[in-house]
Symmetry: C2
Subunit: 632 residues, 2 copies
């Protein structure tokens, strides 16, 4: 891991002219930063030693310690140069890969365009209008005479993020003998590795207010690749609608952290915002309003937006529970109901939270509609991974229903808890086949993801959910015995244990009073230290854990942000910077604890702010300016 | 309380032409809202009864229950009409008070301008550019022919929010016999009462998507006034800087809730962002950067911005602790240090959180500078209330200092805990006199506010903090025995007990791991039910509590949002809608619990969103659309 598996593609050559560091006059503050003992310290300018240059904090952070401002930390070799070189962003020249396909060339164009805007964003006066706040090129300004050239070589034609796609890269920076140019070489096997390299490159550059220019390290070598293949977040757009523009901003944030999966919990009992072109009744009845619908065009555009940023959108259609509003129309009289218990009262008898709703597994029309919805989803979203939900079925919703009782009676069965579990298993089997039947890309094998549940349990999983067909996403606590059970029974797993990775915990209750069910709030430190591999110990031996990892059974993890108490107004602050902590756990799987990452995550969060995201604040700015002094 | 004390000023006549309710064709959704049994229910349009009109949710909320969409709930009579009348915002005509002073007229102009924009904001297509998204006036459109006239009568010339300023009003709406106009009469004694009436009036109006117009109640009578005089929030701009534009948005939010105090904790040990024109060294050394300074012009403009919105800015200059960065320059060699322990390590020995810093009470130069800063603050901010801080002095910072030891020795005293308390008392006395000496408006008596502390304690308060000079702000828990002590000893009090009203609690720790010190998060329900009067029981008898209230000793309360983990990016979501819960507690002091207020606070929060604020989400939208069904 972390080493380039097949580093034969030379992706980019990046060269820029350099000038020696300028020591400028004071810019108002009596203080500047400088690097001492691998720490950026704030000192009075008059007390700088003769060999010390006054630096902006951002520039100091680039290389003051062994990992600089890199996030997540690379898994291979990291060597960072000790000198800085100045340039302006307008002097970046990009030459696309001559040997790549038109499609990959276009995607690389996009990635470099995004990279270029990051450089503008580092300037504190950038207005997000595309207009550069840096000095224009003028004669007599040495910095302005430098240029930065990015040459892209050939790239494998991997169109989409797929599980275990090669995301690794080697990034090298080197300055020439005259110290007036630097070459950046990016070696990667896929577009996604190259995009990751560009993200890392952007973390080797910072704005310097001493010279009003950008500074880049004069040399560096970084060899990097992820530990876990699946690194994601869950966004829920059913409890509360989240506009597409906000989802794009979330994807931006994922891309800053090399997170690669957006699990879109698009529907639930509360509302049905996905416009199904085959079944427009779903949004007509189920959307909160006509303004709160995702059109086919919007969803399609979002998939492409994510792809360019190295992110796969994994759509979830949760069933048979967590389906209600939107299902109340049809079928014709006498043919029963497609979903039961919709908004039924008292809700606590029929579901885990209001409003209730559960598909009717005895209703033939439901399966027809379900198949159409699956097809519409699979036409837009990824065909490799598809989330089928499967959590929190409340059998009592089915228990009293005449249609179900009749259905079972015809099979010679009574309506009991155990026959209802069988019925659930039957539903799941039929639904799985509908997914398979309606997948767009027949060449790929759709892998279904299911939540841990009564069906995905020690008692029932092997019977109803063949390990070849299903990935199980674990949302219970780290101590749940189902976790080692699943590994021992050959299931692939995604970790989302709520005691560390549920980002919606810790706020006031929305049902009743006090704090919400999974309180307390999970701080970034807790998120950071939740290691899937460690969770398997001691139930599994180190050898068993290693074998399961190598066998691809521990795909990675995902932090859900359930949206009962979230909408676009506070979404970003609840996600970030905690998703950064998740990202380093899953990309790097560090063997150091949160404390070793603290000053880097604070700097990384600052970079998120520069790029226009709205992350929560972890500390006073004093702690940022005075590294390591806000210790416990 | 709640009845107009002297309702002799007729403030406004508001008349608008009316048309009968239009029942429009379906607008896409099969559902509409209607009012049944005092609850807004979502029903299929085809199932509406003959006597029911399909309503937008916002219109339904206006009068479906006895309190409609009013927040905070009025303290006097509330009568709401059962019919709605349509109008467009462009047809509002305002005639200013002929008898009022030029200054009051100008302020009323501003208040009506703000009110006019609220009307535009209610339209979901409003782009916040001043351009109305409502239909233009056209012949044949009955709604467009109606007009709304606001006539303002005379108003007392009360320039600023002062403690116990009359904020009450009586608001009456009446439609004429032809049902094509309504008159709104606002009766109040001061500008601030009139502004409150306009806020209430705006809560009787909603956008109706059935007719693409605004609807207003055809008649109403509301008599209203606050229970507590002091209703505020604390904003801290030292731990993290908050731009002026964000502070304006907070003030907007206060005005929606009839909160009247913005306690600005402007400086602390971390940074000194207030530009003191007499002592520019303070920001030069103490600001986080030259971009993170409040200029005199900005602060002055903010005071006026707040005044127009019924809010007083109470400036705090915390001392002698919570003062550090910014104080490190001068005086000349041999004259000691103005502040001690600045950024001193290990911080836990010298202060409660990093970085340390405490003024040096033995340093004469410090007092000179302190006097200048007080003058600069009092030139800009309110001269009636001034917060002197006084919390969390750590005597150990002073204990080892030679300057202090020498100073005490000259007075024949040893350097002990008790003599240091005396020294603190001496500092406070000198500082108080400096405030008095430097107040701008000599006619007013500056009332100093102090936090509960070792000085404001059962042991020391009477000796060092005369009850005539000081208001004590209580930040400890509801059980602190100092609370009844202070009341019994004639102190005026402001309640901010952290166990209910600290809005920064419950997030991840910023020192060490786990959750922050005052966890858990205080949900709006907890905020709502924290009653200052109830907190005094059983330590005081009901008669004693009543006497203390009538004697003006229970000024009100304030929710602090300390900013260690807050900046402008997540500020609003941490403040709102919890400040709405605080507002109803302090304006109305309801004898009902949070549950009775739930659907109203959700609607009130929705109105905040319409006005462009970024409050946190309390519930799924389903609960908003399906009132009373998300019960516990």
């Amino acid at each position: 891991m972390g080493n380039l598996r097949n580093p034969w593609v030379l992706l980019g050559i990046l060269s820029l002219s350099l000038i020696p560091n300028l020591v400028q006059a004071e810019v108002g503050s009596p203080y500047a930063h400088t690097c001492r003992n691998k720490t950026c310290v704030k000192v009075e300018r008059t007390k700088l030693r003769a060999d010390e240059t006054p630096l902006s904090l951002d520039v100091c952070k680039l290389n003051c310690n062994a990992l600089g401002a890199l996030w997540p930390k690379p898994t291979g070799k990291v060597e960072l140069g000790q000198e800085f070189l100045s340039f302006y962003p307008q002097n970046v020249i990009f030459r696309n890969a001559s040997a790549a396909s038109v499609e990959v060339k276009a995607t690389l164009d996009e990635a470099v365009k995004i990279f270029r805007e990051y450089l503008l964003m580092y300037h504190p006066d950038y207005k997000r209008d595309g207009v550069s706040p840096f000095p224009e090129n003028k004669e007599g300004d040495n910095i302005a005479q430098n240029s930065l050239v990015i040459d892209i070589g050939t790239v494998w034609d991997v169109k989409n993020v797929v599980l275990n796609v090669d995301e690794s890269y080697v990034l090298s920076l080197e300055s020439n003998n005259q110290r007036n140019s630097v070459s950046t070489s990016i070696v990667a096997n896929t577009y996604f590795g190259a995009r990751n390299a560009l993200e890392t490159l952007s973390q080797l550059i910072a704005y310097d207010d001493e010279t009003n220019s950008l500074k880049i390290l004069d040399r560096a070598t970084i060899s990097d690749g992820p530990v876990f293949a699946y690194r994601g977040v869950l966004i829920d757009t059913s409890r509360n609608f989240i506009p597409v523009e906000s989802l794009k901003r979330v994807i931006d944030g994922l891309s800053y952290n090399k997170l690669n999966m957006l699990h879109w919990h698009i529907t639930d009992t509360h509302s049905f915002p996905f416009y199904s072109k085959s079944v427009p009744e779903m949004t007509k009845y189920g959307a909160y309003s006509s303004r709160k619908i995702y059109s086919v065009e919007e969803a399609t555009e979002l998939v492409e937006y994510a792809r360019v940023r190295g992110v796969k959108i994994v759509a979830e259609f949760d069933a048979p529970a967590h389906a209600g509003n939107g299902w109340e129309w049809g079928p014709a009289a006498g043919k029963g109901e497609m979903a039961l218990c919709i908004n039924k009262e008292p809700w606590s008898s029929y579901c885990v939270e209001p409003p209730c709703g559960q598909l009717n597994p005895a209703n033939e029309n439901m399966y027809q509609v379900l198949g159409k919805i699956y097809k519409d989803l699979l036409d837009i979203f990824d065909n490799e991974l598809f989330h089928m939900g499967g959590d929190e079925v409340k059998l009592d919703c089915w228990l009293e229903n005449a249609e179900i009782t009749d259905y079972l009676k015809k099979k010679g069965k009574n309506n009991t808890q155990e026959t209802l579990i069988e019925l659930w298993g039957e539903f799941q089997s039929k639904a799985y086949n509908l997914v398979k039947d309606n997948q767009q890309v027949k060449a790929n094998n759709v892998t279904a993801i299911m939540w841990t549940s009564e069906l995905a349990s020690i008692e029932h999983a092997v019977q109803y959910l063949p390990a070849n067909n299903y990935v199980v996403q674990i949302w219970t606590t780290a101590q749940d015995p189902v976790i080692p059970f699943l590994i021992k029974n050959n299931y692939k797993t995604i970790f989302s244990n709520y005691d560390a990775w549920y980002l919606d915990c810790g706020f006031g209750a929305w049902i009743g009073e006090g704090n919400n069910w999974c309180s307390p709030y999970k701080g970034w430190q807790k998120v950071y230290e939740n290691s899937p591999l460690q969770l398997l110990s001691p139930a599994l031996t180190p050898e068993e854990i290693d074998a399961a990892y190598k066998n691809g059974q521990i795909l990675g993890g995902e932090a859900p942000l359930w949206a009962e108490q979230v909408d676009e107004l506070t979404l970003e602050g609840k996600l970030f910077p905690r998703l950064s902590a998740l990202a380093e756990r899953l990309w790097s799987n560090p063997d150091t604890n949160w404390y070793a990452a603290e000053s880097r995550i604070v700097q990384s969060r600052h970079r998120h702010v520069q790029r226009g995201l709205r992350p929560d604040r972890l500390q006073p700015e004093w702690c940022h300016q005075n590294e390591e002094l806000c210790y416990g």
